[in-house]
Subunit: 180 residues, 2 copies
C-alpha cells in the first residue's frame, strides 16, 4: 500500500530509474521505509500500468541502458488523494521487546550484549540524522515551505533514536548494574 506512495514522493522530488530508487531506499527515504530493488521493479511495473508513472529508455555511453521513470499528472493526483486520507496507526512490532519478556526463560548475559549492539545502532542512526539535519537544514528557524516535511521527518528520526538510546540505558542499568 505505501511503497507505491513512497515511490511517488521520491519521483515527485526527482525522476529516477529503478536502480536510482533502490539506492534512495538504501539511504534517505529508506531510513523510514525500506524496499529491495526486486520489490521496487515489481511495483514500478504495476504503477506504470496504472498510469501513475511513465518510463523512457535512456541509452548511456559505456554503462547499461536505464529506464527513467517520471510521475504523471494521475500520479500526482493519487499522491494528493493519499495525503488527504488518514494514515492507519501502526502499532509497535518489536522482537526485542518480546525477547526482554523472555528474560526469565533465557540468557540474560546474551541479552545485555544485544542491548549494547542495539545502543550502538541507535547512536549511529542518531548521528546520521543529526548530520543530515545540519547539512541540509542549517537554519531550521527559517525553512522554505518545501523543506518543512523533510526537516520534520528528520526530527522524528532524532526523537525516536534518542528514545531508543534512553531505553537501552535503562535496561543496562537494570541488568548490568553499571552506570554508563
Amino acid at each position: 500500500m505505501a511503497l507505491e506512495h513512497a515511490i511517488l514522493v521520491s519521483l515527485a522530488e526527482k525522476s529516477a530509474s529503478g536502480y536510482d530508487l533502490a539506492r534512495r531506499f538504501d539511504a534517505s527515504i529508506g531510513h523510514f521505509w525500506k524496499a529491495s530493488h526486486q520489490q521496487i521493479y515489481k511495483v514500478l511495473g504495476r504503477m506504470e500500468s496504472d498510469g501513475w508513472v511513465e518510463s523512457e529508455l535512456v541509452a548511456q555511453g559505456g554503462r547499461p541502458n536505464k529506464k527513467v521513470y517520471v510521475i504523471t499528472p494521475a500520479g500526482r493526483d493519487e499522491l494528493a488523494v493519499w495525503t488527504s486520507k488518514a494514515t492507519p496507526i501502526e502499532h509497535l512490532r518489536s522482537e526485542f521487546a518480546v525477547k526482554l519478556r523472555a528474560l526469565p526463560f533465557g540468557d540474560a548475559a546474551a541479552i545485555v550484549d544485544d542491548v549494547r549492539v542495539r545502543r550502538r545502532a541507535h547512536e549511529e542512526r542518531l548521528a546520521y540524522y543529526a548530520e543530515s539535519a545540519a547539512r541540509f537544514y542549517p537554519d531550521p528557524d527559517d525553512l522554505r515551505p518545501d523543506e518543512i516535511g523533510g526537516w520534520l521527518v528528520l526530527r522524528g528520526g532524532i526523537l525516536a533514536e534518542e528514545a531508543g538510546i534512553a531505553w537501552c540505558d535503562e535496561i543496562l542499568q537494570r541488568l548490568d548494574g553499571a552506570e554508563r
Copy 2:
C-alpha cells in the same frame, strides 16, 4: 520468525488455548507484537508438529471444548537458544514519515488533522502503559528477577509513546502555528 517465540514466551508464562493467546495478543504482549487468531492457530499447528508445544483437549460445561497448549522441554530449549542469539535490528517503517515528506505535493490541512489523531493515539497508549506499570509494578525499585523483563518492556513503551507525542507537538508547532 518471531511470532513463534512470542507464543513460546506467552505459553512459558502460562499455558493457554489458541483463543486465550489471541486475547493476549490483543492486549499485554500484543502491544509489542500483534497477531490475529487465524495466524496464531496456523503457527500453533506448526509448533506442535515441531514438538515445541503439546495440546490437550479440555471439555468445558456449556462452553465449547478448547485445546490447551503447553510448552514442552524442546520449546523451552528453543526459547533459550533464541534469547542467546542477537536480535536483528529492525528499521523504522513509518507510512506517516513518508506522508510528511509528501507535504509539498499534498494536503497540509489534512495532515495536521492526521497528526492530532496520532497524538491522541499516543496519549492513550501512554496512559495504558503508565497504568499497567502502576498496577503490576507498584514498587519499581524492588522488583523480583522474573518481573524485570515485563517492567523494562513497559518502560520501552512509555519512552516510545512520549517520543511520539513530542514529535506530534513539534509538527503541530510548525504546521499549525499554534502552541498547545
